[in-house]
């Protein structure tokens, strides 16, 4: 599904390499987790995959179901099924949450040659998804993420994911800043989306999220590379001993 090979990335304006040869493949139906120290390049990887500017790919490739992601505009990557839940969701004053989400959904459908969703059907869809994430109607009426608490912003990301139903979901620290109950809501939201044809890449610092979203594979990223790959036990090891041993081993 998602296939990353030997990906090298540097900052566009600076000769600062950030990703130094990332190899990673997520198969359909599987949940992969990425852990790693601060500044190791996890968010950068998610941004480069989704097409944020400011980075330059100097080598390697990234494909989604065979299509060259790196050659596409961000909106085309979204239409192709890629979704990134941001580590820091963006506030957009003056644009209503509902308008935003409906514009996004219909733009994606249009790009795929599908019918647009009617206003009525859309409302029903969002209400239903919002309810399971305990997002109240008042929040939906507000401008995108404006005045939302940290936890509300993260839940709003998951709501967008639930409505857009992407094939490949990347979650960048969606658990950070969440209280215990919100964490469970988010995890339930993710689990509800698990499907044989959908892949997940979950970036996190904590085992706690992985207790709820059980990953199939865990990767450790350090200094712009995947330095270890293993099963769920790898996350438990990090939780217990930190990164010291792993980094020492690979240095």
């Amino acid at each position: 599904m998602l296939k990353i090979q030997n990906l090298h990335v540097k900052l566009e304006d600076e000769d600062k390499p950030i990703l130094k040869g990332v190899d990673l493949t997520v198969e359909p139906g599987r949940v992969h987790a990425i852990m790693g120290p601060n500044g190791s390049g996890k968010s950068t990887l998610s941004y480069v995959l989704s097409g944020r500017g400011g980075y330059e790919v100097t080598a390697g490739s990234a494909t989604l179901d065979g299509a060259d992601l790196l050659a596409m505009e961000p909106e085309d990557r979204a239409a192709a099924g890629l979704f990134l839940a941001f580590q820091y969701p963006v506030e957009i004053p003056g644009v209503g949450n509902m308008t935003f989400l409906r514009t996004a959904l219909n733009a994606q459908r249009k790009a795929r040659g599908e019918e647009e969703v009617s206003a009525g059907d859309f409302l029903k869809l969002v209400r239903e998804k919002a309810k399971t994430l305990k997002i109240d109607a008042e929040m939906l009426k507000r401008p995108v993420n404006v005045g939302f608490s940290g936890g509300e912003k993260k839940r709003n990301e998951i709501l967008q994911m639930a409505v857009l139903e992407p094939a490949m979901c990347i979650l960048d620290e969606t658990d950070s800043g969440l209280d215990v109950d919100a964490m469970r809501l988010v995890a339930d939201g993710v689990n509800a989306l698990r499907a044989p044809d959908r892949g997940f890449l979950v970036i996190t610092h904590y085992q706690r999220l992985l207790d709820h979203i059980r990953p199939d594979v865990v990767h450790i990223m350090a200094q712009g590379r995947i330095v270890r790959t293993g099963g769920p036990e790898l996350a438990l090891e990090v939780e217990k001993n930190g990164y010291g041993d792993i980094l020492a081993e690979t240095a």
């Binding site: 505009e73 961000p74 909106e75 979204a78 963006v90 957009i92 003056g94 935003f100 514009t103 733009a107």
Partner: protein, 433 residues
Amino acid sequence: MAAPKPNAAAREAATAARLADLVLPRGGFTAAARAEAIARVRAMGLPGRRDEYWRWTDPAALNAAHPEGAAAFRVDRPIFEGRDKVRLVFVDGVFDAAASDDPALAGAEIALLSGAEGLDIHWAKALYGTLEAASHDPVPRPLAALNTAAAGEGVLISVSGRPARPLHISYRQSSEMSDVMLHHVIRLEPGAELTLLETGTPGARGNVVTEVDIGAGARFHHIRPQGRAFDRVLVTHLFARLAEGALMKSFTLTANGRLTRNEAVIRIAGDGAVAHVAGAALGDGKDAPFLHDDTVFVDHGAVGCESRQVFKKVLKNGAQGVFQGKILVRSGAQKTDGYQISQALLLDDDSQFLAKPELEIYADDVKCSHGSTTGAIDETALFYLRSRGVPRSEATALLVLSFLADAIAEIEDPELAEAVTGRLEDWLARRTG
């Protein structure tokens, strides 16, 4: 007094030439006002680039004896169509009775200046030219005085009740050379309420003055989508005087136009009055030059009043935006709440926004603030939208609308606000591709 500088002599000559070229209406009840206005124009002279408030906007096209000519806009689709209203149509400044509704509105008295002109006695006599005449200190507004002197047409509206339907003054341009001067006089009696819609391009060149006297507790709503002809030049002056507890809200939408200078001079004379003026201007220099200038003067002369100026401009391809806004709080005008914001969103590096915000305060217990910003589209927000599948052009349009939201929020009627938003969306769909 010293001898006039060479510059002054040139101005005097140009002014004399312009006046000599005008066909002045003879006037009945307006005769005295017109004669005084001519004297004012002579004394002030036509505006020039060296004048403090014309440094950024070249008045040459407004001063010239004749317009340069401007093609009429192909399809200026009607706006506010869904709304039941009384519509008065002016084609190249001439009233078109066949295209207009019967100028009758319950609770209001409506007449044409050209029709009432011959009368010696008219309610508008007490108002015609008076707010304009009082507006020149400290900044002269000679083009408004020129209008008082020479405008042959306009609408005289006296409102005593609260008409349910808006009055719609609809301008159409048909001639490429039309040179139009219109002078409207509006009186709202105490407690009255009027919604005035003013749409379209008056002519290839337009000079429109509106004098509004808002009585105690009266409410005046003004929504003005200015015509979209690319080459037209236009100067407007909105003079308003507010009595105790009066309210006015004026919103102007401008898309296209080689030159637009919208002046508003608002005198808050009664305690507890509220005056809001807002504008959204969209300029794309691709098809024709675009210069849009808002020059606003709010004069607080009473206690406990509120004023709000919200002006937003979206500029691309070398479009130019100018904002000159002043809040004056006279001594004794305590508890004044004055607010002013002017912002430009530049869609490229070629466009330019110049702003001159001014506060002049002579009272100590007031709350006044002003701000001016120039910025580009927020790349982070743009990426966020695109990462959700919204194409760049649509995402840009959404962000532009969000930028304009505060100005549109100054339109109180949700249906009219929606119509204006629709117009903005159309423009953006064509221009942000």
